[in-house]
Protein backbone atom coordinates (compact mmCIF):
# COMPACT_ATOMS: atom_id res chain seq x y z
CA UNK A 1 0.00 0.00 0.00
CA UNK A 2 1.13 3.56 -0.73
CA UNK A 3 0.95 5.04 2.74
CA UNK A 4 1.30 8.66 1.65
CA UNK A 5 -1.45 8.37 -0.96
CA UNK A 6 -3.68 6.72 1.66
CA UNK A 7 -3.02 9.49 4.20
CA UNK A 8 -3.40 12.21 1.59
CA UNK A 9 -6.81 10.90 0.59
CA UNK A 10 -7.84 10.51 4.23
CA UNK A 11 -6.85 14.09 5.13
CA UNK A 12 -9.38 15.44 2.69
CA UNK A 13 -12.00 12.76 3.38
CA UNK A 14 -11.84 13.52 7.12
CA UNK A 15 -12.08 17.29 6.55
CA UNK A 16 -15.26 16.75 4.54
CA UNK A 17 -16.84 14.22 6.89
CA UNK A 18 -16.23 16.21 10.07
CA UNK A 19 -17.38 19.54 8.63
CA UNK A 20 -20.40 17.78 7.07
CA UNK A 21 -21.28 16.35 10.48
CA UNK A 22 -20.89 19.77 12.12
CA UNK A 23 -23.15 21.43 9.55
CA UNK A 24 -25.66 18.62 9.99
CA UNK A 25 -26.04 19.72 13.63
CA UNK A 26 -27.83 22.80 12.28
CA UNK A 27 -30.59 20.69 10.74
CA UNK A 28 -33.85 22.06 12.14
CA UNK A 29 -32.05 24.86 13.99
CA UNK A 30 -31.10 27.29 11.21
CA UNK A 31 -31.94 30.99 11.68
CA UNK A 32 -34.41 30.81 8.78
CA UNK A 33 -35.70 27.90 6.74
CA UNK A 34 -33.76 28.71 3.54
CA UNK A 35 -30.45 28.89 5.38
CA UNK A 36 -31.21 25.75 7.36
CA UNK A 37 -31.66 24.05 3.99
CA UNK A 38 -28.49 25.64 2.60
CA UNK A 39 -26.40 24.28 5.47
CA UNK A 40 -27.79 20.78 5.19
CA UNK A 41 -27.34 20.84 1.40
CA UNK A 42 -23.69 21.75 1.86
CA UNK A 43 -23.38 19.06 4.55
CA UNK A 44 -24.75 16.53 2.08
CA UNK A 45 -22.27 17.55 -0.63
CA UNK A 46 -19.39 17.29 1.83
CA UNK A 47 -20.46 13.89 3.12
CA UNK A 48 -20.86 12.74 -0.50
CA UNK A 49 -17.33 13.91 -1.24
CA UNK A 50 -16.01 12.15 1.85
CA UNK A 51 -17.67 8.91 0.69
CA UNK A 52 -15.94 9.01 -2.70
CA UNK A 53 -12.63 9.69 -0.97
CA UNK A 54 -13.10 6.96 1.68
CA UNK A 55 -14.03 4.47 -1.03
CA UNK A 56 -10.81 5.30 -2.81
CA UNK A 57 -8.74 5.24 0.42
CA UNK A 58 -10.17 1.78 1.18
CA UNK A 59 -9.19 0.65 -2.31
CA UNK A 60 -5.64 2.01 -1.80
CA UNK A 61 -5.45 0.29 1.59
CA UNK A 62 -6.47 -2.93 -0.11
CA UNK A 63 -7.11 -5.07 2.96
CA UNK A 64 -10.83 -5.57 2.44
CA UNK A 65 -11.91 -2.69 4.68
CA UNK A 66 -14.66 -0.39 3.38
CA UNK A 67 -15.59 3.28 3.49
CA UNK A 68 -17.72 2.51 6.56
CA UNK A 69 -14.76 1.07 8.48
CA UNK A 70 -12.83 4.27 7.80
CA UNK A 71 -15.65 6.58 8.85
CA UNK A 72 -17.09 4.64 11.78
CA UNK A 73 -14.34 2.54 13.29
CA UNK A 74 -11.26 4.74 13.54
CA UNK A 75 -10.48 6.58 16.74
CA UNK A 76 -9.76 10.30 17.13
CA UNK A 77 -5.97 9.93 16.75
CA UNK A 78 -6.47 8.24 13.36
CA UNK A 79 -8.42 11.20 11.98
CA UNK A 80 -6.38 13.62 9.87
CA UNK A 81 -8.76 16.54 9.50
CA UNK A 82 -7.60 20.05 10.33
CA UNK A 83 -8.66 21.52 13.68
CA UNK A 84 -10.74 24.23 11.98
CA UNK A 85 -13.49 21.85 10.85
CA UNK A 86 -14.02 20.30 14.28
CA UNK A 87 -14.56 23.66 16.01
CA UNK A 88 -18.08 23.95 17.48
CA UNK A 89 -20.79 25.69 15.46
CA UNK A 90 -21.23 28.59 17.91
CA UNK A 91 -23.69 31.12 16.55
CA UNK A 92 -24.58 31.46 12.86
CA UNK A 93 -21.75 34.00 12.37
CA UNK A 94 -19.15 31.55 13.66
CA UNK A 95 -20.49 28.75 11.45
CA UNK A 96 -20.35 31.07 8.43
CA UNK A 97 -16.84 32.23 9.16
CA UNK A 98 -15.59 28.66 9.68
CA UNK A 99 -17.27 27.69 6.41
CA UNK A 100 -15.74 30.60 4.53
CA UNK A 101 -12.24 29.80 5.79
CA UNK A 102 -12.71 26.19 4.69
CA UNK A 103 -14.43 26.88 1.35
CA UNK A 104 -11.78 29.39 0.32
CA UNK A 105 -9.29 26.54 0.60
CA UNK A 106 -11.47 23.70 -0.58
CA UNK A 107 -12.62 25.28 -3.82
CA UNK A 108 -9.08 26.07 -5.04
CA UNK A 109 -7.81 22.75 -3.71
CA UNK A 110 -10.21 20.72 -5.84
CA UNK A 111 -9.64 22.97 -8.83
CA UNK A 112 -5.90 22.19 -8.67
CA UNK A 113 -6.45 18.51 -7.86
CA UNK A 114 -8.25 18.10 -11.19
CA UNK A 115 -4.74 17.98 -12.70
CA UNK A 116 -3.67 15.11 -10.43
CA UNK A 117 -1.86 12.30 -12.24
CA UNK A 118 -3.97 9.92 -10.16
CA UNK A 119 -7.02 9.32 -12.32
CA UNK A 120 -9.34 8.61 -9.40
CA UNK A 121 -8.38 11.71 -7.40
CA UNK A 122 -8.70 13.84 -10.54
CA UNK A 123 -12.22 12.51 -11.18
CA UNK A 124 -13.33 13.09 -7.57
CA UNK A 125 -11.87 16.61 -7.73
CA UNK A 126 -13.64 17.50 -10.99
CA UNK A 127 -16.94 16.41 -9.53
CA UNK A 128 -16.44 18.09 -6.16
CA UNK A 129 -15.05 21.35 -7.51
CA UNK A 130 -18.37 22.21 -9.15
CA UNK A 131 -20.13 21.81 -5.80
CA UNK A 132 -17.63 23.88 -3.85
CA UNK A 133 -18.16 26.82 -6.20
CA UNK A 134 -21.68 27.14 -4.75
CA UNK A 135 -20.38 26.70 -1.22
CA UNK A 136 -17.81 29.46 -1.55
CA UNK A 137 -20.31 31.81 -3.14
CA UNK A 138 -22.77 31.19 -0.31
CA UNK A 139 -20.32 31.58 2.59
CA UNK A 140 -18.55 34.62 1.07
CA UNK A 141 -21.96 36.21 0.54
CA UNK A 142 -22.89 35.73 4.18
CA UNK A 143 -19.54 37.05 5.44
CA UNK A 144 -20.38 40.23 3.51
CA UNK A 145 -23.95 40.44 4.78
CA UNK A 146 -23.00 39.93 8.41
CA UNK A 147 -19.78 41.98 8.33
CA UNK A 148 -21.34 44.91 6.54
CA UNK A 149 -24.77 44.42 8.15
CA UNK A 150 -25.95 45.65 11.53
CA UNK A 151 -23.76 46.62 14.44
CA UNK A 152 -24.57 43.33 16.16
CA UNK A 153 -23.95 41.13 13.12
CA UNK A 154 -20.64 42.91 12.51
CA UNK A 155 -19.57 42.42 16.10
CA UNK A 156 -20.49 38.74 16.06
CA UNK A 157 -18.66 37.85 12.88
CA UNK A 158 -15.62 39.93 13.86
CA UNK A 159 -15.44 38.02 17.11
CA UNK A 160 -15.79 34.73 15.19
CA UNK A 161 -12.90 35.86 12.99
CA UNK A 162 -10.77 36.65 16.03
CA UNK A 163 -11.51 33.26 17.51
CA UNK A 164 -11.04 31.16 14.35
CA UNK A 165 -8.13 33.00 12.76
CA UNK A 166 -5.46 30.90 14.56
CA UNK A 167 -7.06 27.82 12.95
CA UNK A 168 -6.97 29.16 9.41
CA UNK A 169 -3.36 28.47 8.42
CA UNK A 170 -3.05 24.79 9.39
CA UNK A 171 -4.69 23.58 6.20
CA UNK A 172 -1.95 25.04 4.01
CA UNK A 173 0.96 23.79 6.16
CA UNK A 174 2.27 20.71 4.35
CA UNK A 175 2.25 17.32 6.07
CA UNK A 176 4.48 14.43 4.92
CA UNK A 177 1.62 13.23 2.75
CA UNK A 178 1.21 16.72 1.24
CA UNK A 179 4.93 16.82 0.37
CA UNK A 180 4.83 13.37 -1.21
CA UNK A 181 1.67 14.20 -3.14
CA UNK A 182 3.18 17.33 -4.62
CA UNK A 183 6.51 15.68 -5.45
CA UNK A 184 4.88 12.73 -7.17
CA UNK A 185 2.24 14.72 -8.99
CA UNK A 186 -0.88 13.17 -7.49
CA UNK A 187 -1.50 16.15 -5.19
CA UNK A 188 -1.52 19.92 -5.29
CA UNK A 189 1.07 22.60 -4.68
CA UNK A 190 -0.12 24.13 -1.39
CA UNK A 191 1.89 27.33 -1.90
CA UNK A 192 -0.09 28.12 -5.03
CA UNK A 193 -3.37 27.40 -3.25
CA UNK A 194 -2.30 29.61 -0.37
CA UNK A 195 -1.74 32.64 -2.53
CA UNK A 196 -5.12 32.28 -4.26
CA UNK A 197 -6.87 31.60 -0.96
CA UNK A 198 -5.20 34.50 0.85
CA UNK A 199 -6.21 37.01 -1.80
CA UNK A 200 -9.80 35.74 -1.76
CA UNK A 201 -9.96 36.03 2.03
CA UNK A 202 -8.40 39.48 1.96
CA UNK A 203 -10.81 40.68 -0.71
CA UNK A 204 -13.92 39.40 1.07
CA UNK A 205 -12.88 40.60 4.53
CA UNK A 206 -12.15 44.06 3.21
CA UNK A 207 -15.50 44.36 1.50
CA UNK A 208 -17.17 43.03 4.65
CA UNK A 209 -15.39 45.73 6.73
CA UNK A 210 -13.72 43.06 8.86
CA UNK A 211 -10.16 43.04 10.17
CA UNK A 212 -8.04 39.90 10.40
CA UNK A 213 -5.99 39.67 13.62
CA UNK A 214 -2.31 40.51 13.17
CA UNK A 215 -1.07 37.64 15.32
CA UNK A 216 0.18 34.89 13.02
CA UNK A 217 0.19 32.10 15.62
CA UNK A 218 -1.31 28.95 14.17
CA UNK A 219 -2.73 25.89 15.89
CA UNK A 220 -1.76 22.62 14.26
CA UNK A 221 -1.71 18.87 14.82
CA UNK A 222 -4.86 17.72 13.05
CA UNK A 223 -3.10 16.27 10.02
CA UNK A 224 -1.00 14.05 12.30
CA UNK A 225 -3.90 13.04 14.58
CA UNK A 226 -3.49 15.46 17.50
CA UNK A 227 -6.93 17.01 17.89
CA UNK A 228 -8.85 19.36 20.13
CA UNK A 229 -11.20 17.73 22.64
CA UNK A 230 -14.13 18.51 20.32
CA UNK A 231 -13.36 15.70 17.89
CA UNK A 232 -14.00 13.03 20.52
CA UNK A 233 -17.51 14.35 21.11
CA UNK A 234 -18.22 14.50 17.39
CA UNK A 235 -17.11 10.89 16.96
CA UNK A 236 -19.12 9.76 19.97
CA UNK A 237 -22.18 11.05 18.17
CA UNK A 238 -21.23 10.01 14.64
CA UNK A 239 -19.96 6.53 15.48
CA UNK A 240 -22.37 5.57 18.26
CA UNK A 241 -24.51 3.18 16.24
CA UNK A 242 -21.63 1.16 14.78
CA UNK A 243 -19.84 1.06 18.13
CA UNK A 244 -22.90 -0.06 20.07
CA UNK A 245 -24.27 -2.42 17.41
CA UNK A 246 -21.25 -3.53 15.33
CA UNK A 247 -22.05 -4.36 11.71
CA UNK A 248 -25.61 -3.09 11.93
CA UNK A 249 -27.12 -2.09 8.58
CA UNK A 250 -30.20 -0.17 7.51
Amino acid sequence: MNNHLFNYTLQQADNCLILGQRLGEWCGHGPILEQDIAMTNIALDLIGQSRMLYQYAAEVQGDGKTEDDLAYLRDAWDFKNVLLVEQPNGDFAKTILRQFLFDSFNCYFYEALKDSNDEKLAAIAAKSHKETLYHLKWSADWVLRLGDGTEESHERIQSALNELWPYSAEIIIASDADHDAKTNGYGVNLEEIQSRRDSKIEEVLEEATLTAPEDTFSHSGGKSGTHTEHLGYILADLQFLQRAYPGNEW
Binding site: E34, Q35, L44, G48, R51, A123, A126, K127, E131, W138
Partner: protein, 156 residues
Protein backbone atom coordinates in the same frame (compact mmCIF):
# COMPACT_ATOMS: atom_id res chain seq x y z
CA UNK B 1 -35.27 -19.17 -15.90
CA UNK B 2 -35.41 -18.22 -19.56
CA UNK B 3 -33.13 -15.26 -20.24
CA UNK B 4 -34.17 -12.73 -22.81
CA UNK B 5 -31.52 -11.26 -25.06
CA UNK B 6 -32.28 -7.66 -25.89
CA UNK B 7 -30.38 -5.06 -27.82
CA UNK B 8 -29.18 -1.73 -26.49
CA UNK B 9 -32.18 0.26 -27.71
CA UNK B 10 -34.64 -2.14 -26.18
CA UNK B 11 -32.88 -1.95 -22.81
CA UNK B 12 -32.74 1.80 -23.08
CA UNK B 13 -36.50 1.75 -23.65
CA UNK B 14 -37.05 -0.42 -20.55
CA UNK B 15 -35.01 2.00 -18.47
CA UNK B 16 -37.35 4.84 -19.43
CA UNK B 17 -39.38 3.54 -16.48
CA UNK B 18 -36.57 4.42 -14.09
CA UNK B 19 -37.18 7.94 -12.87
CA UNK B 20 -35.59 10.25 -10.35
CA UNK B 21 -37.41 9.48 -7.07
CA UNK B 22 -37.42 13.21 -6.24
CA UNK B 23 -38.78 14.23 -9.66
CA UNK B 24 -40.85 11.26 -10.80
CA UNK B 25 -41.71 12.75 -14.21
CA UNK B 26 -38.17 12.65 -15.53
CA UNK B 27 -36.24 9.50 -16.47
CA UNK B 28 -32.58 8.86 -15.73
CA UNK B 29 -31.90 9.13 -19.47
CA UNK B 30 -33.58 12.57 -19.60
CA UNK B 31 -31.46 13.65 -16.63
CA UNK B 32 -28.19 12.45 -18.13
CA UNK B 33 -27.58 10.00 -15.28
CA UNK B 34 -27.69 7.01 -17.65
CA UNK B 35 -24.35 7.18 -19.47
CA UNK B 36 -24.13 3.93 -21.40
CA UNK B 37 -25.48 0.45 -21.88
CA UNK B 38 -22.84 -2.09 -22.83
CA UNK B 39 -23.83 -5.50 -24.07
CA UNK B 40 -21.32 -8.32 -24.29
CA UNK B 41 -22.95 -11.56 -25.49
CA UNK B 42 -25.85 -11.73 -23.08
CA UNK B 43 -24.26 -9.73 -20.27
CA UNK B 44 -25.61 -6.22 -19.76
CA UNK B 45 -23.69 -3.42 -18.10
CA UNK B 46 -25.62 -0.27 -17.18
CA UNK B 47 -23.33 2.71 -16.63
CA UNK B 48 -24.60 5.59 -14.49
CA UNK B 49 -23.10 8.71 -12.95
CA UNK B 50 -24.28 10.64 -9.87
CA UNK B 51 -25.58 14.19 -10.21
CA UNK B 52 -24.21 15.66 -6.95
CA UNK B 53 -21.77 13.57 -4.90
CA UNK B 54 -24.08 13.39 -1.90
CA UNK B 55 -27.28 12.78 -3.86
CA UNK B 56 -29.32 10.38 -1.73
CA UNK B 57 -31.41 9.37 -4.76
CA UNK B 58 -28.57 7.33 -6.31
CA UNK B 59 -29.16 4.28 -4.14
CA UNK B 60 -32.85 4.35 -4.98
CA UNK B 61 -32.06 4.73 -8.68
CA UNK B 62 -29.77 1.69 -8.60
CA UNK B 63 -32.47 -0.30 -6.84
CA UNK B 64 -34.98 0.79 -9.43
CA UNK B 65 -32.72 -0.21 -12.37
CA UNK B 66 -32.19 -3.54 -10.66
CA UNK B 67 -35.94 -4.12 -10.28
CA UNK B 68 -36.78 -3.01 -13.81
CA UNK B 69 -34.25 -5.34 -15.42
CA UNK B 70 -35.27 -8.31 -13.27
CA UNK B 71 -38.93 -7.68 -13.96
CA UNK B 72 -38.08 -8.03 -17.65
CA UNK B 73 -36.27 -11.32 -17.10
CA UNK B 74 -32.78 -9.85 -17.42
CA UNK B 75 -30.68 -11.47 -14.72
CA UNK B 76 -27.16 -11.27 -16.10
CA UNK B 77 -26.29 -7.63 -15.56
CA UNK B 78 -24.14 -5.23 -13.61
CA UNK B 79 -24.59 -1.57 -12.66
CA UNK B 80 -21.40 0.48 -12.80
CA UNK B 81 -21.08 3.98 -11.35
CA UNK B 82 -18.53 6.27 -12.97
CA UNK B 83 -17.41 9.71 -11.75
CA UNK B 84 -15.66 10.98 -14.84
CA UNK B 85 -16.59 12.92 -16.89
CA UNK B 86 -18.47 14.74 -14.13
CA UNK B 87 -22.23 15.04 -14.62
CA UNK B 88 -23.50 18.27 -16.11
CA UNK B 89 -26.98 19.64 -16.81
CA UNK B 90 -25.80 20.01 -20.44
CA UNK B 91 -26.65 16.31 -20.76
CA UNK B 92 -30.30 16.87 -19.95
CA UNK B 93 -32.52 16.14 -22.96
CA UNK B 94 -34.85 18.78 -24.44
CA UNK B 95 -37.70 16.43 -23.69
CA UNK B 96 -36.54 16.27 -20.08
CA UNK B 97 -36.45 20.06 -19.80
CA UNK B 98 -40.00 20.26 -21.12
CA UNK B 99 -41.18 17.66 -18.61
CA UNK B 100 -39.55 19.59 -15.77
CA UNK B 101 -41.32 22.78 -16.78
CA UNK B 102 -44.69 21.04 -16.97
CA UNK B 103 -44.03 19.60 -13.51
CA UNK B 104 -43.48 23.13 -12.16
CA UNK B 105 -39.67 23.20 -12.02
CA UNK B 106 -37.85 25.78 -14.12
CA UNK B 107 -35.35 23.89 -16.32
CA UNK B 108 -31.64 24.85 -16.38
CA UNK B 109 -31.00 27.98 -18.40
CA UNK B 110 -27.33 28.01 -19.40
CA UNK B 111 -27.49 31.29 -21.31
CA UNK B 112 -28.85 33.47 -18.56
CA UNK B 113 -29.05 32.38 -14.96
CA UNK B 114 -30.17 35.85 -13.84
CA UNK B 115 -33.28 35.76 -15.96
CA UNK B 116 -35.22 32.66 -14.99
CA UNK B 117 -38.69 32.14 -16.37
CA UNK B 118 -41.54 31.26 -14.00
CA UNK B 119 -42.77 27.76 -14.94
CA UNK B 120 -46.32 28.69 -13.90
CA UNK B 121 -47.03 32.00 -15.66
CA UNK B 122 -43.93 32.34 -17.91
CA UNK B 123 -43.04 35.74 -16.46
CA UNK B 124 -39.36 36.66 -16.36
CA UNK B 125 -39.96 38.98 -13.44
CA UNK B 126 -38.57 36.51 -10.89
CA UNK B 127 -36.03 36.62 -8.09
CA UNK B 128 -33.70 34.21 -6.33
CA UNK B 129 -34.75 33.38 -2.76
CA UNK B 130 -31.97 30.91 -1.96
CA UNK B 131 -29.18 29.23 -3.91
CA UNK B 132 -30.06 25.99 -2.14
CA UNK B 133 -33.48 24.44 -2.56
CA UNK B 134 -35.38 21.28 -1.69
CA UNK B 135 -32.64 19.10 -3.20
CA UNK B 136 -28.96 19.69 -4.02
CA UNK B 137 -29.69 20.20 -7.72
CA UNK B 138 -32.23 23.00 -7.28
CA UNK B 139 -32.36 26.57 -6.04
CA UNK B 140 -35.41 28.43 -4.79
CA UNK B 141 -37.03 31.27 -6.73
CA UNK B 142 -40.19 33.30 -6.50
CA UNK B 143 -42.24 34.89 -9.24
CA UNK B 144 -42.90 38.60 -8.68
CA UNK B 145 -45.96 38.50 -10.96
CA UNK B 146 -47.97 35.42 -10.02
CA UNK B 147 -46.27 35.36 -6.58
CA UNK B 148 -45.72 31.59 -6.68
CA UNK B 149 -42.48 30.23 -5.26
CA UNK B 150 -40.80 27.67 -7.53
CA UNK B 151 -37.75 25.45 -7.83
CA UNK B 152 -35.12 26.13 -10.46
CA UNK B 153 -32.95 23.24 -11.64
CA UNK B 154 -29.58 24.97 -11.54
CA UNK B 155 -26.92 24.73 -14.23
CA UNK B 156 -24.13 22.46 -13.12
Amino acid sequence: MHEMVLNKNQICQLLEDVTDPEIPVISIRDLGILRDIRIDHNHVEVVITPTYSGCPAMLEIERSINNTLKKNNIENFRITTILSPAWTTDWMTEEGKQKLKEYGIAPPSPTNEDDIQCPNCNSRNTSLVSQFGSTACKSLFKCNDCLEPFDYFKCH
